[in-house]
């Protein structure tokens, strides 16, 4: 279909009005046709449910009390925001996201700098670095929980015994530092992600300019501070923002390592619990709306960064 219309569409772009207008519209639809299935599918599956969430968030609706269903106004939001558990989970979400993203970004940057040089076995090290990201998140969390953190037979305490002998300290890692345990396991999984993005940034920096800087007698630190780092900034932003979007939504690690206990429940886990265990549909939807508002703030920033990279590439 688009083949037949294609010449007209092309020739008509120049002239305006009359017959050309109608032909151009047909041509436009021919161009849009391949796009529509994907667009319609996505709107139905991702946008409509969210409208549902928005509606339910203003309703009194608990599956255990089906007769009490009704309009609740802002009650759910008031209850969610005044509830200590939800407030804690909002704080936990922020702490978890910020610490995982920042630590993985810094580590990712340092490791990317290490890997952006020639040395023996560079490919092998790169592959080793990627591996943590390729372990299924639930599986990774299980391994950290049982094989590494476990106080009796986990690797960490095992190594402490191996190094310091019988009297070695044998901390119960997860109960003593529940949030840090989750953060460390997530940092382990996400550092490779940051490293890959930053490494791509390092490898795309203009080599002739770097060479010129070296000839002009810039020190390594000066080249890094004034040339590499500004060039890397948008890659760091991209990594940080994409990472934030994924980690704000993290459910697997919290669910597996602490089962949301010991004060580590984040918003996704709390929403899951309000909905799955307490069956309070109204409240879990209100919490969902709050997560969306939080995400929109991050996402707006992320979109701006992606679009600047995108336009730079399109402009090339």
């Amino acid at each position: 279909m688009s083949t037949a219309l294609e010449p007209q569409a092309k020739s008509s772009t120049g002239k305006a009005g009359g017959n050309g207008e109608a032909v151009r519209q047909v041509g436009d639809w021919a161009r849009r046709a391949p796009l529509l299935p994907a667009l319609i599918f996505l709107i139905i599956v991702t946008q409509l449910p969210f409208v549902g969430t928005l509606v339910i968030s203003f309703m009194d609706w608990n599956a255990y009390y089906p007769d009490d269903r009704g309009f609740a106004g802002f009650d759910n939001f008031a209850r969610v925001l005044t509830d200590v558990n939800t407030r804690d989970s909002i704080i936990n979400t922020i702490v978890l996201t910020v610490s995982v993203v920042l630590i993985s970004l810094v580590l990712g940057l340092l490791i990317a700098l290490l890997l952006d040089r020639q040395f023996l076995g560079r490919g092998a090290v790169r592959t080793m670095m990627i591996t943590p990201f390729l372990v299924v998140p639930v599986a990774a969390a299980l391994v950290w929980k049982h094989a590494l953190y476990n106080p009796e037979y986990g690797l960490f305490n095992g190594l402490l015994t191996a190094v310091f002998g019988e009297g070695a300290p044998q901390p119960d890692w997860i109960s003593t530092w529940p949030m840090s345990s989750i953060v460390v396991s997530l940092v382990w999984q996400w550092t490779p992600f940051m490293m890959l993005i930053i490494l791509a940034g390092l490898q795309s920096k203009p080599h002739d300019v770097m060479e010129a800087a070296k000839i002009d007698g810039c020190s390594n630190w000066q080249t890094f501070r004034y040339m590499t780092f500004p060039h890397l900034r948008q890659y760091l932003e991209l990594g940080g923002l994409l990472g934030s979007i994924y980690i704000v939504q993290n459910f697997d690690a919290v669910f597996t390592i602490t089962s949301g206990g010991l004060g580590t429940a984040n918003l996704p886990f709390t929403i899951y619990q309000t909905f799955y265990n307490a069956q309070d549909y109204g409240r879990s939807s209100a919490a969902g709306v709050i997560v969306v508002i939080g995400t929109i703030i991050i996402a707006t920033l992320a979109l701006r960064t992606v679009s600047s990279l995108f336009r730079e590439e399109a402009g090339r």
């Binding site: 991702t46 040089r117 023996l120 076995g121 670095m129 391994v143 094989a147 690797l155 549909y281």
Partner: protein
């Protein structure tokens, strides 16, 4: 663990302050540091692999028994039904959901990417950003209505529900990736084909598709990985029939006595497809993860 975090910070100052004459020596040293860091990061995976090949008694010793005899006990326990449900139905469900949703994603994403690159619609960048914005909507936010609708039409615990949801989850990524691959096809090639009287379907089949085949492969692998890893939807929307492998793994969340080798075997088996897909897509991984923003 502190070692992992403490080791690298020493490097940038070294990188920065090392005077030129010592370049080779500090260069070799940094190579060694890179190897140590790489080994630290891969160590938990190696430990998982080693433990999965120990028998339960050797797996749970303190200090760890690195050189204990290898055994398949963990795998036998995991696949055998003597100590619980068989992992085969969940594994098959995961394969079904991941493969079918990936196929559906490609069917929808390739034409869409075509309409966004080779013969772009007007305001195509706005469309691109609409696709991306749906990816940023948290999964939990739409979970309840999806659950209620699925309940209403009897789709709960049905693998097709996951196929549809995973398709929507991966579609934006695939559109972005495929667009960046299609945009690399030079316009002159297409022009030459049309001057030679090549019809559009034929141009697509014989010229465009072969040129972007590596891109299609990378996109498929990345969609496969994300579908395979997904837990929250599967956990809420499936029960016994359509349970996927990650949901099956959650039965290991609470300890069950001596079961470390079994847990590690389970983690290895479930992660294996992702590791294979990830290493296969290694070169394109960063492009996919950055939604095609980085080449």
């Amino acid at each position: 663990m502190t070692a992992t975090i403490d080791a690298p910070p020493a490097t940038p100052s070294r990188l920065a302050t090392a005077p030129p004459p010592q370049r080779n020596r500090s260069g070799a040293l940094l190579g060694v540091v890179a190897w140590i860091v790489g080994l630290l990061f891969v160590a938990p995976v190696l430990w998982m692999l080693l433990t999965s090949f120990h028998n339960e008694n050797d797996a749970a010793t303190n200090p760890p028994s690195l050189f204990a005899p290898l055994s398949l006990e963990g795998y036998a326990n995991f696949f055998g039904t003597s100590t619980g449900a068989s992992p085969w139905p969940p594994l098959l469900n995961s394969i079904t959901a991941s493969v079918l949703s990936t196929a559906l994603v490609l069917v929808l994403a390739i034409p869409a990417a075509y309409a966004l690159s080779i013969r772009p619609v007007r305001k195509w960048t706005d469309v691109m950003f609409f696709f991306l914005s749906t990816k940023m909507l948290p999964v939990v936010a739409g979970l309840l209505p999806v659950y209620l609708i699925a309940q209403g039409i009897g789709m709960l615990d049905n693998i097709w529900l996951l196929v549809i949801l995973y398709t929507s989850m991966n579609l934006p990524i695939a559109v972005w990736m495929m667009r960046s691959f299609l945009a690399e096809v030079p316009g002159e090639v297409l022009e030459a084909a049309s001057l030679d009287g090549c019809s559009l379907p034929r141009t697509l089949r014989t010229i465009v598709i072969p040129m972007v085949l590596p891109g299609i492969a990378a996109t498929s692998l990345i969609c496969f990985i994300f579908s395979w890893n997904e837990l929250l939807f599967a956990r809420v929307l499936t029960a016994t029939v359509a349970q996927t492998a990650p949901v099956f793994l959650t039965s290991f969340v609470t300890s069950q006595g001596l079961f470390l080798a079994k847990v590690c075997a389970a983690a290895v088996v479930v992660s294996l497809p992702v590791l294979i897909a990830g290493f296969a897509a290694q070169d394109k991984l960063v492009q996919g993860l950055s939604l095609g923003a980085i080449k």
